[in-house]
């Protein structure tokens, strides 16, 4: 480019010089000054043309033509601003929906963990019933016995109270093995990380590594923080370093405040879980394969360790199968997430396709109106490629504008999403857009631009130029099946699928909100309290818990109050055990009666406070303490699965894995425990007095009083009991947000897509109907003048659009029934065979059709033949 400017800059001067020289020569030959100059000019030729040709040598011709096409397209679009705005907005919506979904997909699934060489990092997921969790004792065996990994690290997630000297606050921490940071291969941004060499048995490594974000928010980037001693659950810990920015720990969605060594688990939680082999609570161990070891070899190695463990610890271990997964997205999380994100991507892709089909119809109609212009240009000698290029330039231009607009919207939305904190667990959605999102949006815009351009281009070029120039636009409405019709059917079908999916999802959500949870979240408050902080001893814990329950029960308006270790459907999950029938003598895992039974440690008042219905027997009482026989209340599913019947079982026994016999004293209704979509699971409720004392507890308070007033009263009462006790009060419904989150997200996403689809189908049918009416106004005028009935006119005006709409809807309905199978994974009770949904979809499509054809129908009927015919 610069060479070009340099070369052309003194072209004028060169030509002048040339002509002067020639003139001089002529004068020397004896011509007069004037003649000499004329002769020189004649000999030189057309100066302007020479300049033009010289300039062309240096210009890129296609670029020049492109600019011409762009200018022409812009002029055309500016001439019909309504059309341009419709197209741009439709595309902007469709592209931004795609960019947002792609952004989420990209961030959560495609983008690897933020550590060096993430591809060589594998997590070992065990295929047994514990959802990939394992015991710390097993982890140690895998770490020391495997010959495939350089090192194996593990971690878990804990809620603790951090006291820096003022306002002790509850925080989330990763408890990690000492080699965690070394396995990941990351470097601290300040101080140092703890390492394997820091571990010398239980509670030997009181060190803290802060996450960068927490260092920033809580310690204001103070570099002197390294070396400071803080208290975690009243135990002194030294801050030794700060993690690098952008590292939030290895588990997707979850951002912890700091990292502490897992060997200090007892200090952090008060539990003796490090040595309990049957207690599965650590996340899948992860590590990098040794050079030359393939994943298959590693799996063989792991299986042999599994066999060794099974042989050595028959009571605790069962047959293990293994798989290697990504550490940040273990299968139990990754599978449904991939299914949902993939499904959503597919649906938004369909939206874009529907939008393209829709706009394609509009462009085709426009092209038909422009066919005269195109035919003229062809007749005057324009090449077909040139015309095609111009039409494509127009659609690509418009789709780029739409794409840019859409991208701006989606970037804003993604940025908001990435700072979203809908509930108490720190959610980490790193969905801020990156280059991939921009590229994806650009590609989508370009592709849709070409898709849009193909239809009108084909149409314009196929038309016979002579006929059109001679006789005006050819009326081709007699044709049975045009491309436009096909596009309309495709579009309607896609829209019907989307409308149906969103209805299925909404209906599923409504049902799951109304479904039987096994407790009544209405009129119930939860207090999440932590006795760790206050440093109560074992007996003091029980006394304090008793005092707290009494204090709640005596508040005016409170009906029941109870206590539970973790509320069902909460973010904290649930305790799990396996149980045996009373008759089983050999307590090895293969003989279990139920491998996965949820355990809740509750106070006597819990069953009533939670609003759980007692079906038989009694609830627990304060007399069920350490000195009394071990008892439990079980749910109906437990009774059916373990005890074999639902009636007459009060007083019967079952066995825990340690051989303890436990008597069933009552049966309660079934409920939901971990997620709304789970299969019915067995559960047991054990008295708190027959368990090791709980330090993290949830009080359940049932009252019809106004939640705010009640919360204030509760807060005062608790402060009176212990001013230093950290606690949070919320309604049970708020706490349920966590369990409802996937369903809500799915429903919102599908609802938005469904709305967009509905809008698109209205626009599509409307465009088609309006166009067909406007093309045939004169014909209708004549027919009305000749005495045609309104009914006949309407039928010929709109019959075709309506027929196509019905056809498209039926196709969409069938496809939708297939698509909603995918949905059932995420949204509880989502089924497409629901008659209400089917009726709803039919009704919705009917209304959409009515709405879309209303204005064109009015227009067709309001034709005044005398005026219309006079116009011609």
């Amino acid at each position: 480019m610069r060479r070009r400017t340099r070369m052309l800059s003194d072209l004028d001067q060169d030509i002048q010089d040339h002509i002067e020289r020639e003139t001089q020569d002529n004068i020397e030959r004896g011509m007069s000054l004037q003649d000499a100059r004329f002769a020189a000019l004649r000999k030189f030729g057309n100066v302007a043309r020479v300049k033009e040709e010289t300039r062309e040598v240096w210009t890129v011709v296609w670029l020049d033509r492109l600019l011409q096409d762009l200018r022409f397209s812009l002029r055309l679009l500016c001439r019909s601003p309504g059309f341009a705005i419709t197209v741009v907005l439709t595309l902007a919506l469709a592209i931004s929906a795609n960019a947002v979904v792609f952004g989420v997909l990209n961030a959560l699934i495609l983008r690897p963990l933020n550590v060096p060489n993430p591809d060589s990092l594998y997590a070992i997921e065990t295929g047994d019933s514990a959802l990939g969790y394992q015991s710390y004792a097993d982890y140690l065996d895998f770490r020391d016995r495997n010959r495939s990994f350089d090192a194996l690290a593990t971690y878990t997630v804990t809620k603790v109270v951090l006291d820096t000297g003022k306002n002790p606050s509850r925080s989330w921490a990763y408890e990690t093995s000492g080699n965690y940071f070394d396995v990941l291969g990351i470097q601290p941004s300040l101080g140092r990380f703890f390492q394997s060499s820091d571990e010398h048995g239980p509670d030997s490594a009181p060190y803290i590594v802060l996450s960068h974000a927490y260092w920033h928010s809580r310690f204001l980037n103070d570099p002197a923080v390294v070396g400071r001693v803080v208290h975690v659950n009243r135990h002194p810990f030294t801050i030794i370093g700060v993690a690098p920015p952008g590292f939030y720990g290895t588990f997707s969605f979850f951002a912890a405040d700091f990292f502490v060594p897992i060997v200090n688990h007892k200090q952090l939680t008060g539990r003796e879980s490090l040595t309990a082999r049957g207690n599965r609570w650590t996340f899948p161990a992860m590590g990098r394969l040794k050079p030359g070891v393939t994943p298959t070899q590693a799996l063989t190695d792991l299986t042999s360790i599994g066999a060794y463990l099974e042989a050595t610890y028959p009571k605790e271990e069962e047959h293990k199968t293994f798989s290697l997964t990504r550490p940040d997205l273990p299968n139990f999380l990754g599978r449904p997430l991939r299914a949902f994100a993939g499904g959503l991507m597919l649906l938004t892709g369909l939206i874009l396709l529907a939008a393209c089909a829709n706009l394609g119809i509009l462009f085709a109609a426009r092209a038909a109106d422009r066919s005269r212009e195109v035919a003229l240009r062809l007749a005057l000698g324009a090449s077909r490629t040139r015309i095609m290029r111009q039409l494509l330039t127009e659609t690509v231009l418009i789709s780029l504008v739409g794409g840019t607009l859409g991208l701006v919207g989606s970037v804003a939305l993604l940025n908001r999403l990435s700072t979203w904190q809908p509930f108490s667990v720190p959610l980490h959605l790193a969905v801020a857009p990156d280059a991939m999102v921009y590229v994806a949006a650009l590609i989508l815009a370009l592709v849709s631009g070409f898709l849009l351009g193909i239809v009108p281009t084909r149409q314009a070029l196929r038309a016979s130029r002579y006929e059109i120039v001679k006789g005006g636009a050819a009326d081709r409405f007699g044709r049975r099946w045009t491309l436009r019709d096909a596009l309309l059917v495709v579009q309607i079908a896609i829209c019907a699928v989307l409308v149906m999916s969103s209805m299925v999802a909404v209906r599923g959500l409504v049902r799951s909100l109304r479904s039987d949870l096994g407790f009544q979240p209405q009129n119930a408050m939860l207090v999440d309290a932590d006795l760790n902080m206050a440093g109560y001893s074992a007996d003091a814990v029980w006394a304090m818990q008793r005092r707290m329950i009494d204090a709640m029960e005596t508040l005016p308006g409170v009906e029941h109050a109870g206590l539970v270790n973790l509320p069902p459907l909460g973010p904290g999950g649930s305790g799990v055990t396996s149980v045996f029938t009373d008759e089983t003598a050999d307590l090895r895992p293969s003989n279990v009666a139920a491998a996965r039974v949820y355990v809740y440690n509750v106070s006597p008042g819990y069953v009533h406070a939670a609003g759980t219905t007692l079906l038989a027997g009694r609830t627990l009482s304060w007399r069920d303490d350490k000195n009394a026989p071990s008892v439990a209340v079980v749910n109906r599913q437990f009774a059916a699965r373990v005890l074999g019947s639902v009636t007459n079982l009060v007083g019967r026994y079952y066995k825990m894995p340690n051989g303890n016999r436990i008597q069933v004293v009552g049966v309660v209704e079934d409920g939901k425990y971990l997620s709304l979509t789970e299969e019915q699971q067995p559960a047991i409720f054990r008295p708190i007095l027959q368990q090791p004392p709980l330090k993290e507890i949830w009080l359940v308070v049932r009252s019809a009083r106004d939640p705010e007033q009640l919360a204030a009263a509760m807060r005062r009462r608790l402060r009176e009991l212990d001013a230093g006790l950290p606690f949070e009060i919320k309604t049970w419904n708020t706490e349920l947000d966590f369990a409802l989150f996937p369903a809500r997200v799915a429903t919102t996403a599908l609802g938005v897509l469904g709305m967009m689809a509905a809008m698109l189908s209205i626009a599509g049918v409307f465009g088609m109907a309006a166009y067909s009416v406007s093309r045939r106004l004169r014909e209708f005028g004549i027919r009305i003048a000749l005495g045609a009935r309104r009914h006949d006119v309407l039928q010929s005006a709109l019959g075709r659009s309506l027929k196509l709409m019905v056809f498209g809807s039926v196709v969409g309905l069938l496809l939708g029934m297939l698509a909603s199978r995918v949905l059932a994974v995420i949204v509880y009770q989502a089924t497409s065979r629901d008659p209400l949904v089917l009726a709803g979809v039919v009704l919705a499509m009917f209304l959409l059709g009515l709405l879309a054809t209303w204005i064109p129908a009015r227009r067709a009927l309001s034709i005044n033949p005398s005026i219309l015919l006079r116009e011609e």
């Binding site: 070369m7 003194d10 072209l11 010089d17 020639e22 020569d25 030729g45 057309n46 020479v50 240096w58």
Partner: protein, 120 residues
Amino acid sequence: MSTRYEKARIELLQGTLDLLILRTLRLGPAHGHAIAKAIEFGSDDVLRVEQGSLYPALHRLIKRGWVSVEEGTSENNRRAKFYKLTPKGRRQLGVETDKWNRLAGAIARILRPVQQESES
């Protein structure tokens, strides 16, 4: 565009003019006017080159890297642009000359019998 003009363009095929320019510059650097003069003089005025068409051709050759430009002063001390054959251009001149000779030879062979027929 006029008919005459088109004829002139057809008579002087693009490649031909390029060849003539390259050939002229083999004798040494020259400014635009000098090149035009040399072509006219060298062909005994048989080839009537419209002098202006020299410039697009020169620029084409520059773009291809066969000819370079340098500033200089002409014989009567005036500022002028001197066009100079590059080594690449020198090689190209060989190729072009060879091509031209073969073309001319081929056309001559085809035309000869016609002349003989018409003479007989």
